[in-house]
Each structure stands twice: as structure tokens, then as C-alpha cells.
Point group: C2
Amino acid sequence: MDVKDVFAAAEFSNVRMQKINLFETKNFFCDIYCLEPGQEQKVHAHQDEDKIYYVLAGHGSFVVGDETRELGEHQIVMAPAGSQHGVKNTSARRLTLLVFMTPNPNFK
Amino acid sequence: MDVKDVFAAAEFSNVRMQKINLFETKNFFCDIYCLEPGQEQKVHAHQDEDKIYYVLAGHGSFVVGDETRELGEHQIVMAPAGSQHGVKNTSARRLTLLVFMTPNPNFK
């Protein structure tokens, strides 16, 4: 049984945002994103893949489409396929996210 | 920007487990599962869809394949396509899950 603890899996770096993979199949992948203050996943888009960001701990600034919004713990947002999206830790504390992306572009 | 709060979205019933849909696209759906003590999602399988259960609050008994395990807050488990899986709230308190399933069988 493939069980993980999201906070035990989290790893941070002083250099850049870290992505830790929890699960991956031909259909999706599920990662933890770990952002120290000031770190970000730059705004980007992928034509075919939907993404979900769920805030496990902390808060930060999220971009989806032409909107930017501060989200905190227990909030969840979807970035639909084709939309611009990204996240920046604009706070003074660590930001930890649970992220799903589907389908898996490695299996096109 | 499609933002939700997972705990604000949760709804419980005395009759049966509740599923509240947060997001749905042709690629996936993402739901909150709300189980009062004793409620369950009976063990079942779907040939093509992977599922993830993430425990937002509480704890319960999870089946994946031929294993049964008690999981609690911050734990996450994957039930791969084709595997038997289910969940039962064997505790005395509410169990709230974030659930992700892909692909979306409604768009085969």
C-alpha cells in the first residue's frame, strides 16, 4: 500500500523551490512543492494538462489566467489546461503545496 | 479563479458518506469525501482510473488491493487503476478526505 505523509516528504532548499514526487502513473503525477520565502514556480502554461494546487501549510501568491490571489491553508485552486499559472511565496514562512497534474505529459 | 476551501466545502449526512465535487474536467475530478463515524465507501475497483485519497481530518480504515491500513491526517495513498479500494470511518469522529480520480470516466 503506497502511503506517504505529505509533511514528512517535504524538503526545502535555499536555492530554489523543490518538487518532491509522491506518485506517478501514466495518467497523472502528484507532487509536493516546497517554497522558502521568495521562491516561486514561474508563470507558465501547458496546453493539455490540468493542474491543482492545494495549500498544505503557509500562504502565497497564486496566478491563474489573468488573476493573482493570495491563498492560504486549506484553500485549493485549479489551473485548467492552457491557462497561465504559477505561485510565489510572498510570505516570511515556508509554503508547502500538494499538486496534482493530469494527464501525464511523459505518456503522450 | 476557481478557489475553494476544503473544509468550507465539506458536508456531512447522517444517512451516508457524502461526496462533494470541487473540480471536474475531461481529465479528472476532485472531490471531498465526508464520512460520519461508521460510514464507508464500499470496496470497489475501476479498470482505468487511478485514485488518490488524502486525509484532511480524522482517521479511518483504508483498503487498497489486499491490504487494510489505518490512516490519519496528512497521510496520502494511491489506489492504482484496477485495484480494489475503499474507506471506512472506524473512528468516533468525522473523517474528511480530499480525493482525486483520473482519467474522468464520463469522458471516455
